[in-house]
């Protein structure tokens, strides 16, 4: 089976600052992967490359066997860290917009989820709280039947009480066989859902391992994260 994500010798720098340095990894489809690292470790740059937002990198990146472009964008459902919807839109306009461009978008499911999340379809984005906007963006992403879901810090701006609800929404709504790449620094809240962990820092892959193997060693993901990044900062 073809890897859903394949990265070989990927490097990316901003001027003299190198954020990714010759990193390589492959992921088979059907897993939930945690992309872990502290702020500034290159997670967002890696995600931007995988989603086709950044093109000026060196190395090879393939999504389902293709270089990131319009075709891979149709297969990837991406939740950025930022709020990206236009102020003038109402919730229903945002749903129609996504439905217009992505053939895999489930409109009925989105309308039901609006109801579950207690969001008014006619409410304008600009009058929504940050939390409401995040819920709406989550609906837009999770109502697609995508091959690959890339979620950049989905729990970043959410209070601890809402985190379980959001994780539950993510877990219940991704299609079987799809792959999820979730970037986070809140490992404690999410480690139970990951099949695989990719830790990056200082532009390098510092750990790429199956979560079960970590548990078999009698450790938690959080323990490993602390070990890895303590070491990473020491060598820096």
């Amino acid at each position: 089976m073809e890897n859903i994500i394949s990265v070989k010798n990927l490097s990316k720098s901003y001027g003299s600052h190198q954020v990714l340095n010759e990193i390589s990894f492959d992921f088979a489809p059907g897993q939930i992967i945690g992309l872990l690292g502290p702020n500034g470790s290159g997670k967002s740059s890696l995600i931007k490359i995988l989603t086709g937002l950044i093109h000026d990198y060196s190395g090879e990146v393939l999504i389902d066997g293709e270089i990131p472009g319009p075709s891979t964008k149709a297969k990837v459902a991406y939740l950025p860290e930022k709020s990206y919807l236009a102020d003038w839109m109402r919730a229903i306009d945002a749903i129609r917009y996504i439905a217009d461009f992505y053939g895999d978008f489930d409109m009925d499911k989105a309308l039901k989820m609006l109801d579950v999340f207690q969001l008014n379809p006619k409410q304008k984005i600009k009058s929504m709280s940050k939390g409401m906007q995040e819920k709406l963006q989550l609906i837009l992403v999770m109502c697609r039947n995508a091959k690959l879901y890339i979620l950049d810090e989905p729990l970043g701006g959410v209070d601890p009480a809402a985190r379980a609800f959001i994780l539950d929404t993510i877990m219940k709504n991704h299609p079987e066989g799809s792959t999820m790449l979730i970037s986070t620094h809140l490992i404690h809240d999410v480690e139970s859902i990951f099949d695989h962990a990719l830790m990056i820092g200082q532009g390098k892959v510092l750990k790429n391992s199956n979560v079960q193997e970590i548990y078999d060693e009698g450790k938690t993901l959080e323990d490993v994260f602390k070990e890895v990044f303590q070491y990473a900062w020491q060598i820096g």
Binding site: Y14, L85, A86
Partner: protein, 270 residues
């Protein structure tokens, strides 16, 4: 996909643009009402307001196009635009088509309002508008043939469209270039600086080509003919130098290609 992009682009930009046209409609309504009930001061006030709207509509359109292009591509909304399953070319084309559409609408409305206000004002002081229209028609009837008149008007419209397309291309290139990593450090000044540099280069090239490369279109009995005479006087009345417009056409294509390349390879979304 281009059709969907254009549809959504019109929806998005209509929120910025439509209020100026609504303001124009309301003012026309007030003006007509004032005329019907014969309230002179209200009619005068509405006439002034219409003139103001006619002028401001172009500025509003210009600013609206800039803001919409910047926000939807290089602001947070860029995360949505650039992850749509469409090419950068389609994304750029949809924005250019819609910007062009709004510019044309604004110019036409602006011109119509100014002509309307002028005719209203002159009729108020007792001048005959019909005579003025007759004079205009007479001016065009001095062209050698009906085919020449028709083709000349098409050429005029075409040159007008080229100038608008060139302006849109200059704007889009400037904003995109300013959002590459190398110029982002300059902040909000970058697009302004890039625009004025390109604008000045464009004007200089246009002037030099128009004055030194004599490609002239002249009306004849058989319609318009192309000539390469050295002097506009030799070419006769209604002759038009088109080398500047040809330059603008080529430059427009070049700027759009460069913008697409920058979007594809160099743009850095914040």
């Amino acid at each position: 996909m281009l059709g969907k992009l254009v549809k959504n682009e019109i929806k998005a930009s209509a929120h910025t643009m439509s209020f100026i046209y609504i303001a124009a409609l309301v003012t026309i309504g007030i003006m007509l009402l004032a005329y019907l009930v014969d309230v002179m001061w209200l009619s005068a006030l509405a006439t002034l307001a219409l003139m103001f709207i006619a002028l401001i509509s172009l500025v509003v359109t210009f600013i609206g196009i800039i803001v919409n292009f910047s926000k939807t591509l290089y602001g947070p909304q860029g995360y949505l635009s650039f992850t749509l399953p469409v090419s950068s070319r389609a994304l750029l084309a949809s924005k250019a088509i819609v910007a062009f559409f709004w510019m044309i609408i604004s110019y036409v409305i602006s011109l119509a309002l100014l002509v309307g206000v002028y005719m209203y004002a002159t009729s108020m002081v007792g001048e005959d508008n019909i005579e003025m229209i007759k004079m205009l028609i007479q001016m065009f009837s001095s062209l050698p043939s009906e085919a020449a008149i028709r083709q000349y008007l098409i050429l005029l419209a075409f040159t007008f469209f080229i100038q608008i397309a060139f302006l849109v291309a200059e704007l889009f290139f400037s904003i995109t270039f300013a959002n590459t990593r190398i110029l982002q450090k300059l902040g909000g000044f970058a697009p302004i600086v890039v625009f004025f540099v390109i604008f000045i280069i464009g004007q200089v090239c246009n002037f030099l080509l128009t004055s030194h490369v004599p490609i002239i279109v002249s009306p004849t009995d058989n319609g318009l003919t192309l000539g390469f005479t050295q002097s506009m006087l030799d070419a006769g009345n209604f002759s038009m130098g088109i080398s500047g417009y040809l330059f603008q056409l080529v430059a427009t294509i070049g700027l759009f290609v460069a913008t697409e390349w920058l979007m594809e390879h160099k743009v850095n979304i914040k």
